[in-house]
């Protein structure tokens, strides 16, 4: 069974990859078909994931674990939203209200907390790690913020020069990091494609 899953995964991966490089009609058709299957499987995975989420929360409630009341709230909200969505359809006013009046404000609040968290983290950074790189990191961050922020008196003098000069180094650094990540991604993909890494089928 494990060999079969590996063979299917490797063959599918190779067909999709070859379909990208050689857009022959047969290969393209096969690639599109496999991608469509993958999308259907991914949609099923979402349902399984949601079922897993519900079971985990129900288990917490059953065992009366700490803060399990939030789990109960989550399950109730899920059932209500799912039920309303089934009855009225996703485009109905109730569904839009659920998004506009609940989900968007909650996410906006988390975004606000995030901004405060980042400022606090920057303040504590020197206490956590006092070295040259940390000082450079903080200095560049502050200089960039000053150069880019809008002021009541118009642009800060020399902001263009600062963003161009500091941007040259930060863009170079970012590209270096991205090249490293791209190489890591390539190698990880090849390991999975050739069945060296098999994070499926219980291997």
């Amino acid at each position: 069974m494990r060999i079969l899953t590996a063979v299917i995964a490797m063959a599918s991966g190779l067909i999709v990859l070859l379909g990208y490089f050689y857009p022959l009609d047969a290969l393209t058709q096969l690639r599109i078909m496999l991608t469509d299957w993958a999308i259907i499987i991914a949609a099923m995975a979402v349902l399984i994931g949601i079922a897993n989420l519900v079971f985990v929360q129900m288990d917490k409630i059953r065992k009366r674990e700490k803060n399990s009341i939030y789990g109960g709230l989550l399950v109730l909200a899920l059932i209500a939203t799912f039920g309303l969505g089934l009855i009225f359809g996703p485009g109905h006013q109730f569904m839009r209200l659920a998004v506009d009046a609940i989900i968007v404000p909650v996410e906006a609040s988390l975004m606000a907390i995030l901004a405060v968290t980042l400022v606090y983290a920057s303040i504590r950074l020197l206490r956590r790690r006092a070295d040259v790189m940390t000082v450079i990191f903080l200095l560049v961050a502050v200089i960039f913020l000053i150069a880019m922020m809008p002021t009541p008196f118009g642009p800060v003098p020399g902001d263009w020069l600062v963003t161009q000069f500091a941007g040259m180094f930060s863009r170079g650094g970012a590209r270096g990091l991205l090249i490293g990540i791209a190489l890591g991604t390539l190698l990880t993909g090849i390991r999975v494609l050739f069945g060296i890494d098999r994070p499926y089928g219980g291997n």
Binding site: I48, L110, L114, I181, T185, L187, R191, P199, N203
Partner: protein
């Protein structure tokens, strides 16, 4: 054609170095985050606390999936090492397919350690499907489930700061890595042990996931030098007006 050539060259190089590496194990440079991880895993098993592994939101149908796969390779080793603990590790992810794969990987780790009966399907969880829903679903795990160490590895955005803050509040260890540049800068500013750039993809080699992971690191180094030569050579040729 060039892209296919690069893929084939990389694959051949990986196979060749994996074959050669069988005789001589790699000597890896010291990365403090991995050394600390090895220590905290041992401590978690000894003091009966839990390890929390957060795999991010890397969709396996996109290039971001590679960071999730790197996280799964690490999870496989961690599951094997902590399967005998009183409290099994908990894995959270923000993508449904990744969540199923994390359960599969956990089970494989338990099986390899000869403790498959200890495996519980509820330890691999889908925490949320949007960035902030994921963060909101993951924070209670750090807070309420006797976690002593968090491994945050995979595709994260700015919401990673909320996970780091939660770990800090609970005074738990945190090792963090992401393939996203915004998340990397946030982790650098807020995490105790951030892994920067491609260090994320070195996690398998440092956790003893096998020769192929060590060979991957060597191939990455070779390719990096080739990229440097291509950039410098291309710039010089351009400067001389040849290309």
């Amino acid at each position: 054609m060039l892209a296919l050539g690069i893929v084939l060259f990389t694959a051949l190089l990986l196979l060749a170095i994996t074959y050669l590496r069988r005789k001589s194990p790699a000597v890896l440079r010291r990365i403090e985050a991995f050394e600390r991880l090895n220590r905290v895993v041992g401590l978690a098993v000894e003091n009966g606390t839990r390890l929390h592994i957060s795999l991010g939101r890397g969709n396996l149908f996109t290039a971001r999936g590679a960071s999730a796969l790197a996280g799964l390779a690490m999870l496989r080793r961690l599951a094997e090492r902590t399967s005998m603990s009183d409290r099994p590790p908990i894995v959270t992810s923000g993508d449904a397919s990744l969540s199923i794969l994390s359960q599969d990987t956990l089970q494989a780790g338990y099986r390899a350690a000869g403790a498959e009966d200890q495996y519980r399907v509820s330890t691999g969880r889908l925490a949320g499907l949007t960035p902030f829903a994921y963060a909101a679903g993951t924070i209670p795990v750090t807070r309420d489930e006797m976690v002593s160490a968090n491994v945050v590895i995979g595709d994260f955005g700015a919401e990673a700061a909320l996970l780091v803050e939660a770990a800090d509040r609970e005074d738990t260890h945190l090792i963090a890595a992401s393939d996203n540049l915004s998340a990397q800068s946030i982790l650098y500013a807020s995490a105790q042990d951030p892994l920067i750039g491609e260090e994320l993809f070195a996690s398998g080699a440092y956790m003893g996931a096998g020769i192929s992971h060590e060979a991957s690191l060597q191939v990455q180094d070779i390719l990096r030098w080739l990229v440097i030569v291509a950039i410098v050579g291309g710039s010089l040729l351009k400067l001389m007006g040849i290309i």
